[in-house]
Amino acid sequence: MEAEAAEKARIERENAERQKQQEELAKREAEEKAKREAEELLRQQAARRESAPAVKLGQYFNAITGSTNATAANNSINEALTLFASPDVPVLIVISESGGIKDYDKPTTIRNYLNYLKDQKKNINEISNVQTDSSGKITELELRKSYK
């Protein structure tokens, strides 16, 4: 009788142990799945950021100023221009801002600005605002002067 009770208790303990292990395994799997999904989401967000016009444009600005010859710079200029609705898209450069008043340099066009980067080999203006049309092409660019 006692032996039967002990056997029953042992089986119950083993079942409880097994159930606990299964629960822990399921929990670990759920945590890993959630981690994988979060990483995937971050990857997608980073990819979206990479492809955003401002990011792409910043990369072209660096490529143009860093070009070691005119051909490479011109290639980068032509690629950068594909992001714009036209080569005559206006570029505004904010030189200072105080009390809600923005002071601008003389407005230019994106074609002239890209050539300016090629000639001067300096990229001191930060991209502060990009306006796009319904097809995602840039229609106006605002830069902010940053004397580093």
Partner: protein, 195 residues
């Protein structure tokens, strides 16, 4: 007697009017932060010109590129501005319209030309004029070196003063009125020439 009083009154009225104009000019002054930004912008335009001049003078620059750069460099200047050119071989300084100067620079009879500007600084701060325009003077030092394959060499250092004009202007961009600071370079005068 009456005539003297009349003259005195007229003088006082004129003096008061001038004082009022001066006061208006002072109150229209901009904050030190905004002024600093304009000062920096003008210095940057001079540095831009320095780079354009070195590109135009460089014998490795393709003709089409040099022509495009000349157009951009010319845009930095007020109409009819002149550039002074000196030489260790003559006393007088010749002055050319800036476009002519760029064309002569590109056609210089050397195989290698290097031009560097340095020590670029204000010698006369931008000051607001009665017409609202700001005028100042920036000084630069230019090191010129020309060398030919047949051994011809010429080097000099010149000090040049550049008059700077800054004007507040408006333009319409995509239906919006944008006010901007238009920085233009004026005459560039040679003040010293040495080896």
């Amino acid at each position: 007697m009456f005539n003297n009083r009349y003259k005195c009154g007229t003088f006082l009225l004129l003096f008061c009017s001038l004082s009022l104009l001066n006061l208006q000019a002072q109150t229209a002054d901009i904050s030190p932060e905004r002024k600093q930004a304009i000062d920096s912008l003008a210095l940057e335009k001079v540095r831009d010109l320095s780079k354009y001049i070195s590109i135009i003078g460089n014998k490795k620059t393709a003709f089409s590129e040099a022509t495009r750069v000349m157009d951009r460099a010319e845009e930095l200047f007020a109409p009819d501005s002149e550039m002074g050119v000196s030489s260790l071989n003559r006393k007088e300084v010749n002055y050319y319209k800036v476009r002519k100067y760029f064309e002569r620079l590109m056609a210089l009879n050397y195989d290698r030309v290097t031009i560097q500007w340095y020590n670029i600084h204000y010698i006369s701060d931008l000051e607001r004029q009665p017409d609202g325009r700001y005028v100042g003077v920036i000084t630069i030092y230019q090191r010129f070196e020309g060398e030919s394959d047949d051994g011809l060499k010429y080097k000099d250092t010149t000090k040049k003063d550049i008059t700077i004009y800054v004007d507040r202007k408006k333009t319409q961009i995509q239906g919006r009125m944008i006010e901007f600071w238009d920085v233009l370079l004026g005459d560039i005068r040679v003040t010293e020439t040495g080896a």
